[in-house]
Symmetry: C2
């Protein structure tokens, strides 16, 4: 009965995400979002409810995709668990280095800007890191079962260290540290993990 929407919701969310990603929350205007999405203000507000609500939606989707992406990279059989972990760490270094515009990661940027004052953002960021951590713990445990990492080590501690290194690579990449440095951090982190 109702008139159907003319726009593709996920395309609109992607365009809005790019705006927030590039200019930050406070630096993004709804006019810019409307222009980028080619939607009128009425449609924008009618469909998404306002700037804050729209950001929460975008941020939530981004976090979900990030976790899903890590999951896809880390899940698999025990005998290739270390291979997957190494590929993931190297991949983060490579993609961070490839981001020559230093756009960084929306999760990091949004958390830095808003976690202090927006409990919803803070909670989503924390949950995201917890989920990634859990995936890392599972992979480390698989490495231990297969004999690629010291079974005496606490898998949660090793996973925590890896998570911190990953976030550190992200932060330093955004500041402009070069590819060689980022790859060196990745390799060093992998090489210091305790072997059996």
């Amino acid at each position: 009965m109702p008139r159907p929407r003319k726009f593709d919701e996920s395309a609109v969310l992607e365009a809005a995400r790019d705006q927030f990603w590039s200019a930050g929350y406070a630096g993004t205007t709804m006019d810019a979002v409307a222009a980028a999405t080619e939607l009128g203000k009425g449609s924008l507000y009618g469909a998404f409810g306002g700037k804050q609500e729209l950001f929460h939606r975008v941020f939530d989707d981004y976090c979900a995709q990030a976790v899903q992406g890590v999951g896809r990279q880390l899940e698999g059989p025990d005998d290739r668990a270390f291979e997957r972990l190494a590929a993931h760490v190297r991949g983060i270094a490579a993609s961070t280095a490839a981001d020559t515009a230093h756009r960084g990661c929306l999760l990091a940027k949004g958390t830095a800007e808003l976690a202090e004052h927006d409990p919803a953002v803070a909670a989503r960021a924390l949950r995201t890191f917890d989920e990634i951590e859990r995936l890392l713990v599972a992979d480390v445990e698989a490495c231990q079962r297969h004999g690629d990492l010291d079974p005496a080590a606490d898998p949660r501690r090793l996973a925590g260290l890896v998570l911190a290194v990953l976030r550190g690579i992200e932060a330093l990449g955004k500041a402009g540290k070069d590819e060689e440095f980022l790859h060196s951090v990745a390799e060093t982190a992998l090489s210091v993990l305790p072997r059996p």
Copy 2:
């Protein structure tokens, strides 16, 4: 001959810094800075030139102080170099955990918000990390000379790893990871560094 200033410049910069720190660059209004510093707009603009210039000044001072602080913690005789390194890493974990308001670090926040579009901020952030890295390299070399770390390891690689872990602790702390986690990352990082 001229009328002298009534305000204390460093106190004004500190108040301005707190505003930027809490609300970010785009989220901070010059009215708020004027109120926080108890200066009129005329004095504010007359003395510091504008929002962007003021931020650059604040950011620059913050970076200089950060490097100076790390330098004070890490410089000293070789026989206590590892002790100082451990104290520094643990101290970052402790102060991050103690920041229950999740205000984080202005260097990280400013870089996340502005590095992409403000070359001055990007350059200052990069220089700051480079300087901290150099201090870490010097300390690691001292550890190696004194026999606390494997002399066969590349000190720049170990220092890079430590720097990434430090920035990772910062990023994860801002997202709300708890004290136990942050301390566990710090301890694990220290324990995996290669001994002679």
